[in-house]
């Protein structure tokens, strides 16, 4: 039996019919066409599927869509400003060569947003600790950490 749920996705209210066993990741990708969140492992070990749920990062590959009924979901597609401008974290990732294959990038940027929203000036250790659950096989993390750090440095206190 399908269930009706209501989600606010990237600021837009959506009413959706989902199976009780449907994962949020698949609902986002297949029903809403938001393919920025990726399947990397399906068991919450790689962080490629990270989205923000009411501002907090969750692993959408392990989250049932019905369980988040009524929540606000932010995906990478929802980070642009209303005028289409990039979020400072997106700018910084581009500026610092923090993007290679790009597959982990959406999850990584959303983790960074969550960190900087809570703690505008994190230490390098805090940045590393915060993104340790998001795997990147290309970059070695150095330029990602640098990109996040630079946003915090250039932000007004």
């Amino acid at each position: 039996m399908k269930k009706q749920i209501a989600l606010t996705v990237n600021g837009v209210k959506r009413e959706l019919l989902v199976n009780p066993q449907d994962l949020l990741l698949n609902v986002l990708r297949e029903q809403l066409g938001l393919t920025g969140a990726k399947y990397g492992c399906g068991i919450g070990e790689c962080g490629s599927c990270t989205v923000l749920l009411d501002g907090e990062p969750i692993l959408s590959c392990m989250t049932l869509a019905v369980a988040v009924n009524g929540s606000e979901v932010t995906t990478i597609e929802g980070l642009l400003g209303s005028d289409g401008s990039l979020h400072p974290i997106q700018e910084s990732f581009l500026e610092h060569g923090a993007v290679q294959c790009g597959f982990c990038t959406p999850g990584m940027i959303l983790m960074a947003k969550n960190l900087l929203d809570k703690n505008p000036h994190p230490s390098e250790e805090e940045i590393r600790e915060h993104i340790r659950g998001n795997l990147c096989r290309c970059t070695g993390y150095t330029q990602i950490v640098q990109a996040i750090k630079e946003v915090s440095l250039t932000r007004k206190a």
Partner: protein, 781 residues
């Protein structure tokens, strides 16, 4: 270094695919959804070695699923990696098999309306297996009494008997090693072992296949080579190549895992052809982990030297456990010999290599193609030798390295070229200075002990050479100048994330003197491009970029010819420069005011006058494969209570010739360090000898990789690029990628030795190994 005035080359710019990647708009294979698309799943053998006695798909079909088994796929033995010339290619694979030789080998597949239904159907296929004895050790496998995993395979068109499960052997002799060792005053010998690492590219192997009305097929897949995928599909399914179209699509990392046409591709095509509907298969992580891995190695290395450190002779014996399929281990062994002999001058040498079948996951190329394995052994043994000689190991390296003017084997014994640019000395000296090499002190006390280690290495830039060898290596491009002065280029060359295509765009911009933002990288497929062999062997910039440079120069000749008609001056009197204000390339006659026209105006005038489009298409085989050298100085902390090793500092030196994308080149060094540290300290795949399964069960939970927390801090990683230019490369460039990992493992074990006085010859060096060795040392005490 020659003084250069480049407007694009060497400038830090935002990568062209960056915007799409940071906004989630970049499309990967798994992101494709086509109308009427079915979801495919693959049935895999639960046994390491078995025969399928019976297979029944009726219940699955009753659910509405389309099913295929080994009976319904073309009966063709193929090789998934066709970088090697056909007559030297070993073939032992089938699209689906009734004789699985490793856990996870595909025997059947289904496609259904939803992924869930496909999964359900998969569970309803009944298979009766006859289990066969399985082999998990290469030495064991070579014993005459061991079961034969293959009776015969194909070598080119010929059927070849396999004896003692040996898939390939290679013996290479130069000089007379007996004489060489007799003349040596010091001989060192050691055994080394390296792990069976999983690529762990973030995107699992995937495919989307769309059957076309004309009997053709369109394919999107995770690959490093669209043209080789096309050719193999044409061969297997007997479809003319003009009807097999492989579309280029972004890849979520590769590291060698998609140098071949992945096994999921022909399975997807077979399903789509039977269903007459598009089919998508995205491997689960568990499936991906049983698809391929890095070649593990056992290396026995013996070196002889004079007391002054001059190397006299070397003998390397290699055994590689290739797993269940031969993904071209013959060139691997040749390359391993080549990596070895190109590190240090050896007047007398002998290489003996064996590649052996077992019932494990098939090994294939992974960053370095045998080079990290060989460099680990050589750079460990050089350190041992230096200590015995009482020499600084950097001096020993400087005395013996293969450098400028000497012969280098870029891809085994048949691909040789002369080194024309070399930054080895600069890197060793500068790296020593930056890392404090000379001032390092031994402190063998306390719980946390620090040690500094170094190692050097290199990788080839492609597989080009003056003579054709065993490896196909050329690229081709199309360049087209538009009527507003912007430029499109088309290449089949893949960008695996490193920024290769940005480098190529800069080559076009620089040659035509047009602004970088006016150069567009076209979306292409196999129909609209000329052949490019593959993005492998660190060949993207040097070979792919070299070909594009040649084609751009041809388009430029045509541009200048048209401009000469307009300006009424001979083409060779014309110059071209970038006009930032106009955002255009400008063509002018030097010293003649008024004789000036933009690139766009020339193209537009050519169109209005019906002269034609300014475009060119051509191919290029590079006749060199310049080594991209590097050196790494790595400091570690060893916790003697927990055995945990922490890399705390790194100086990464690279001789990539002219650097084209500075920040992305740094990214290659950081990424290589990261994967090299994992190779040295953590990553391996063990097997349950009873079940033949991976002990990690294909899960990231148990295939551990380093995270952002275990990497040296920002201020503790330094990069250094040498002031070299490769005369044969596009704008002086050579490759960089694979070299960045090759010396890391040796630098780490050398650092561990510096810290605790214990030499490890097997990687990864786990905390358990450290504690065990420390205990043994104490007991000997």
């Amino acid at each position: 270094m020659t003084k250069t005035h480049y407007h694009a080359i060497g400038k830090k710019t935002v990568r062209k695919d960056g915007l799409a990647k940071v906004t989630g708009q970049e499309i990967y294979t798994s992101d494709l959804f086509l109308p009427r698309m079915l979801h495919g799943r693959v049935l895999r053998s639960p046994y390491p070695h078995a025969r399928v006695k019976k297979i029944d798909t009726r219940s699955a079909e009753a659910l509405g699923a389309v099913c295929i088994t080994f009976k319904e796929v073309p009966d063709i033995t193929y090789a998934e990696r066709i970088v090697t010339i056909p007559q030297k290619t070993f073939k032992d694979r089938h699209v689906l098999t009734d004789h699985p030789r490793h856990v996870g080998e595909a025997v059947a597949a289904v496609a259904a309306e939803t992924a869930e239904l496909a999964e359900k159907a998969l569970g309803l296929i009944r298979v009766e297996y006859e289990r066969l004895p399985a082999l998990f050790d290469a030495v064991e496998a070579m014993k005459p009494e061991s079961i034969a995993l293959y009776e015969t395979i194909f070598f080119g068109q010929e059927e070849l008997r396999v004896s003692n499960n040996v898939a390939a052997t290679r013996e290479i002799i130069e000089g007379d090693i007996e004489k060489g060792f007799l003349e040596s005053e010091i001989i060192v010998e050691e055994e080394f072992r390296t792990g069976r690492v999983y690529h762990a590219q973030m995107e699992t192997k995937s495919v989307v296949c769309q059957p076309e009305a004309d009997g053709g097929i369109t394919v999107w897949t995770t690959t490093q080579t669209i043209h080789n995928v096309r050719q193999l599909l044409g061969e297997i399914f007997k479809i003319p190549l003009n009807k097999v179209n492989v579309k280029k699509i972004s890849v979520g990392g590769a590291f060698g895992s998609s140098i071949q046409m992945n096994s999921v591709v022909p399975i997807g095509v077979a399903l789509a052809l039977k269903a007459r509907r598009p089919v998508k298969i995205v491997l689960t992580r568990e499936e991906d982990m049983v698809d391929h891995c890095k070649y593990p190695s056992y290396i026995r290395l013996k070196l002889g030297a004079k007391k002054d450190g001059k190397l006299m002779a070397g003998h390397m014996r290699v055994i590689v456990d290739i797993g269940a399929h031969n993904t071209q281990a013959y060139p691997l062994l040749g390359c391993m010999a080549g990596w070895w002999v190109s590190l240090y001058r050896l007047p007398h040498l002998k290489f003996e290599g064996k590649a052996v079948y077992t019932n494990k996951v098939p090994a294939c190329a992974m960053q370095g193609f045998g080079n990290p394995q060989v460099t680990f052994a050589v750079e460990s043994l050089m350190e041992i030798l230096a200590e015995i000689l009482g020499m600084d190991s950097i001096d020993l390296r400087l005395k013996n390295y293969v450098g400028l003017g000497e012969t280098f084997w870029g891809q085994g014994p048949t691909v040789r070229s002369i080194i024309q640019s070399c930054g080895v000395e600069e890197m060793l000296l500068k790296g020593a200075e930056l890392s404090g090499w000379k001032e390092r002190k031994k402190t063998l006390e306390g719980t946390i002990r620090r040690g500094l280690g170094m190692a050097r290495g290199f990788h080839t830039s492609g597989a080009g050479a003056p003579m054709p060898g065993e490896v196909i290596d050329y690229s081709g491009s199309i360049v087209k100048i538009n009527e507003d002065g912007s430029v499109d280029f088309m290449t089949a060359l893949m960008d695996l994330g490193g920024g290769t295509l940005d480098a190529l765009a800069k080559i076009v911009a620089e040659e035509l003197k047009v602004p970088l933002e006016k150069v567009g990288i076209s979306s292409v497929d196999t129909r609209t491009t000329v052949y490019d062999v593959c993005t492998h062997a660190t060949r993207g910039i040097y070979c792919g970029g070299g070909a594009l440079h040649k084609v751009t120069a041809q388009a430029k000749s045509k541009l200048l010819e048209f401009a000469s008609r307009i300006l009424q001056a001979p083409p060779h009197a014309l110059k071209i420069e970038i006009d930032e204000e106009a955002g255009q390339g400008m063509i002018y006659v030097e010293g003649v005011p008024g004789k000036r026209i933009s690139v766009g105006e020339v193209a537009k005038t050519a169109q209005i006058n019906n002269w034609g489009t300014i475009a060119a298409v051509d191919s290029l085989r590079q006749v060199n494969c310049p080594p991209t050298f590097n050196a790494q100085f790595i400091e570690v902390e060893v916790n003697t209570e927990t055995g945990v090793i922490r890399p705390v500092r790194a100086v990464l030196c690279s001789d990539a010739g002219q650097v084209i994308n500075p920040d992305l080149a740094e990214g290659q060094l950081y990424g290589g360090l990261y994967r090299g540290l994992g190779y040295a300290l953590l990553e391996d795949t063990d097997y349950d000898k009873e079940t033949g399964e991976l002990k990690n069960r294909g899960l990231f939970t148990d295939f551990k990789m380093l995270t952002a927390e275990e990497i040296p801090r920002l201020e503790d990683i330094q990069t250094y690029f040498t002031h070299t230019r490769e005369p044969t490369g596009p704008f002086g460039a050579k490759g960089i990628g694979e070299a960045a990992l090759n010396p890391t493992a040796a630098a780490v074990v050398n650092a561990i030795y510096d810290a605790i006085g214990i030499r490890f010859t097997k990687i990864p060096v786990t905390p358990e190994m450290v504690l065990k060795a420390l205990n043994e040392k104490r007991n000997q005490g």
